[in-house]
Symmetry: C2
Subunit: 401 residues, 2 copies
C-alpha cells in the first residue's frame, strides 16, 4: 500500500490511512506501506536548500529532502500503534534499499529482504519511508520527485506481493485530465504499456519509472482513492485487458519548450554534435524533426526539451554555434505536447489519420509529430490545449465509455 503526499497531508489524514491499513490487517494480509512526505513538506525543504545556496552537492540535498518521508513513516506507525496494530517504521538505510549514488535521482539496485521478512513474520506492519535509499558510500539517496511510487513497486516486486495498491487523491486512471475535459472517464483496466505511455507523456498519477518497474516484474498494480472506497484502476497485461477501444487515453504535457536551429550546414555528424552536447549536461531531448532545404545544402532542426532546461540549453547551443556553423536558435515555450495512447493502435492504421483530421478540422496547426508503437504525440500551440484534447476525446469515442 502506497500513500502519496495528499493522503498523509495532516494528522487526520494519517489516522485515516491507519484505519485503511487496519482493515487490510484484519483480512489477515501482511502489509508493507510506503509513504510520501506530508504534502507541501518536500517543496518547503527544496526551498530551504535553494535559499542556502544556488549550487549544492546533491548528497546534502538528499539528506534534507529524505527527512520528510522519515517523519511521515514514524507518525503513521504511531497512529497504527494507537489502534492496537503492531507496526514499525523503516528508513531506506535500515531495510536497506540499496541504490546507486546518483544523488537526487538514484536507481534502486537491491532491496535486502531479511529484516523486513523477520518483522512481517513477527506480526508487524512495515511502514517504509518512500523516495529514499542508501548508496554504497553509506549516504542517503533519493529517487527523484514522485519516487515513492517507485519505492512501492520495487518493494512489491522484491517481496512478490500479491498486490501493489497506490492510494492517491484521485479514484483511478482517467481517459484524460478531468480538469480539462469534463467528459473524461475513469478506466477500470489499463495495460502496463499504455500506462507507461500515459505517464511518460504527462499523466501525473503514476511516476513513469514505477510503471516500467511494475511491467518488468509483473507487479499487480492498482491506482485507487485514499479518500473513497472505490475499486480504482487495475494495471494488467495486454491479454487481460477487457477494454477493446482503439485509444485508451489522451495525455498532455505543457512543460515542453520547442527549439529550432536554423540553417545547419548539412554534413554528417552535425546532429550528433548538437544532441551530444545537450545530453552531456543531462538535458533530455524529446521530439525531433529535421527539414532540408530544396538543394539539400542545409537543414533546420527542431526539437523539444523540458521547459526548465531552456536557459541551460540556450547557453550550450551558443557555445557550439561557431563550431557547427548554424545561423540562429529560436525557441518557444508556448507549446503543449498532446499524445493519444492505446495498444489497439498497432493493428489499426486509421488512427493517425483520425487524429490529424480532427486537429485540422479545428484549425490546429501541428509543429512536430512523434510516434511509438502505441502512441502518437503532436506538438501544438498551448492556446489550443483544451480544444485539441476535447475534440480528440470525442473523436476517439472516449466520452462514451
Amino acid at each position: 500500500m502506497k500513500f502519496g503526499g495528499t493522503s498523509v497531508a495532516n494528522i487526520d489524514r494519517i489516522k485515516a490511512v491507519a484505519l485503511k491499513i487496519k482493515s487490510e490487517v484484519e483480512k489477515k494480509n501482511k502489509i508493507i506501506a510506503v509513504v510520501s512526505a506530508m504534502s507541501g513538506v518536500t517543496n518547503d525543504l527544496v526551498s530551504l536548500v535553494k535559499q542556502a545556496s544556488e549550487t549544492y552537492e546533491s548528497s546534502e540535498y538528499d539528506a534534507v529532502l529524505s527527512s520528510g518521508e522519515q517523519v511521515t513513516s514514524a507518525l503513521l506507525s504511531i497512529a497504527l500503534q494507537s489502534l492496537g496494530i503492531k507496526s514499525r517504521s523503516w528508513l531506506g538505510w535500515q531495510i536497506p534499499i540499496i541504490t546507486n549514488d546518483v544523488h537526487g535521482n538514484a536507481r534502486i539496485k537491491e532491496i535486502k529482504k531479511e529484516n523486513i521478512l523477520k518483522s512481517l513474520d513477527n506480526g508487524f506492519v512495515t511502514i517504509v519511508s518512500g523516495f529514499q535509499g542508501i548508496s554504497s558510500k553509506n549516504r542517503i539517496t533519493t529517487l527523484g520527485r514522485g519516487g515513492s511510487d517507485t519505492s512501492a513497486v520495487a518493494l512489491a516486486a522484491a517481496f512478490s506481493a500479491d498486490r501493489c495498491d497506490i492510494y492517491t487523491d484521485v479514484d483511478g486512471i482517467y481517459t484524460t485530465d478531468p480538469r480539462i475535459v469534463k467528459n473524461a472517464k475513469k478506466l477500470d483496466y489499463i495495460t502496463y504499456e499504455e500506462m507507461l505511455e500515459l505517464a511518460s507523456q504527462g499523466a501525473k498519477v503514476l511516476h513513469t519509472r514505477s510503471v516500467a518497474l511494475a511491467m518488468k516484474y509483473s507487479v499487480k498494480l492498482r491506482v485507487l482513492s485514499s479518500f473513497q472506497n472505490l475499486p480504482g484502476t487495475t494495471v494488467v497485461n495486454e491479454e487481460h485487458n477487457m477494454e477493446k477501444s482503439e485509444i485508451i487515453g489522451i495525455a498532455h504535457n505543457p512543460n515542453e519548450a520547442k527549439i529550432t536551429i536554423s540553417i545547419v550546414p548539412d554534413k554528417p555528424g552535425q546532429a550528433a554534435l548538437i544532441f551530444g552536447a545537450l545530453a552531456d549536461k543531462g538535458i533530455n531531448v524529446d521530439m525531433i524533426v529535421q527539414s532540408s532545404t530544396i538543394d539539400n545544402s542545409s537543414t533546420d532542426i527542431t526539437f523539444t526539451i523540458p521547459e526548465n532546461d531552456l536557459i541551460l540549453a540556450q547557453g550550450i547551443l551558443k557555445n557550439i554555434q561557431n563550431e557547427i556553423g548554424f545561423s540562429q536558435v529560436t525557441s518557444d515555450i508556448n507549446v503543449v505536447k498532446i499524445s493519444i495512447v492505446g495498444n489497439a493502435m498497432r493493428s489499426q492504421p486509421g488512427i493517425a489519420k483520425t487524429m490529424f483530421a480532427t486537429l485540422a478540422n479545428n484549425q490546429i496547426n501541428i509543429h512536430v509529430i512523434s510516434t511509438s508503437e502505441i502512441k502518437i504525440s503532436v506538438l501544438v500551440s498551448s492556446d489550443y490545449t483544451e480544444l485539441a484534447m476535447r475534440s480528440l476525446h470525442t473523436a476517439f469515442s472516449l466520452d462514451k465509455k
Copy 2:
C-alpha cells in the same frame, strides 16, 4: 563548535554560522560542528507526535524528532560549500554514535572515529546532526532535550579536541538569570563543578549531562555568543579558576512541585516504599525533609518533584495510601527552588547563615532546604522569586563583579 537552535533559526543565521566556521578553517583548525534543529522545529515535531497519539513507542518518537537536526546539518554543509569550504553532513548512524536503546533519553556508549578521522584528514569540515545516535538494534535514538550539547562534548572527548565551543544566544554564563536580576554579571571563568550545579539547579545555558561529561573527560568547554564576537565563559578545573569570590552564581528552577504526605506511621521502610513507588515510574524526587511528631509516632514527609510529573505522582501515592496508612497528600506548584553555587563554600561556613539571614530579612519563608558540597538550595513561594534572587545577588556581592 556546537550551534543551538537559535543560532541556526533560519537560513540567514545558518549562513552566519558558516562564516564563523570558515574563520576557524582559515586558522588551519580541523572542525567538527554539531547542530541542533532550527528553533521551533523540535516543538513542532513533538506536537505532531502528540496529535498522532497520546501514547506512542519512543523509538518512533525518535525517528520523527531526529529529522530536525538532519535538515540543519545538511543545510549548514550546503552553506559552507557555497563559501568554497569542503564539508559534509553526518547523521548519528553514519558516524556512528552508538547509544543504548533508551529511546528519547539515550546515553552514548561509543563513538566510532574512523569515518570522521578520514573525512577530517581529507580536509572536510564535519557537520554532525546533534541530539541523535543509533542503538544496537539499528534504530535512531535521541539523547533527550538539550542533547546536542552532549553530542558536542562527547565528540570533543572522543576526538581529544583542543576546545569545545558551545555557541548560543547569550554571550556566556551569568551570575544569575539576567532577565530576573538586571545586575547579573557575565563570568569569564567557572569550574566544572559549579557549572554542573548551576545547570542541574535550573540554569538553562548548558545541558547538565554535557557538563558532567566535559568534567569526566576534561573537555575544555567555552560558552559564547553566535551573534557577537566576544570571549564568552570558559569552564575550567578548580585550580585554574581565577575568581575567588564565595559564591559564583544563583540558579532558580520554577518547575518544581512540592508534595507533603501527612501523618505517616513511623515504621522502618516507609520512606523506601514511597520513594520506591515514585522511582519505579521514573519520577525524580529532589529535595526531601521529614519531620516527626513530638511522640515520634508519626511523621510528615515533604519532597519536590518536577511539576510535569505531579498528576502521575498523585495517582501513584493514592495507590499506596492504604498500604502505608498515611492520612493525606497535599501539593503546591506555587514554589521555586533557588540555589546558590560556589566552590568556595567548602571552606567558608558562614555562607548558609548569610543566605538564610538575607531571606529572613526579606520576610521570605523557607519550605525546604537541601545542600551539597558546593551549593545550598531553598524552596520558597514563587511569589518571592525576584526578591529572593535580587537580595541574594546583592548579599553575595555578585552585583559588583
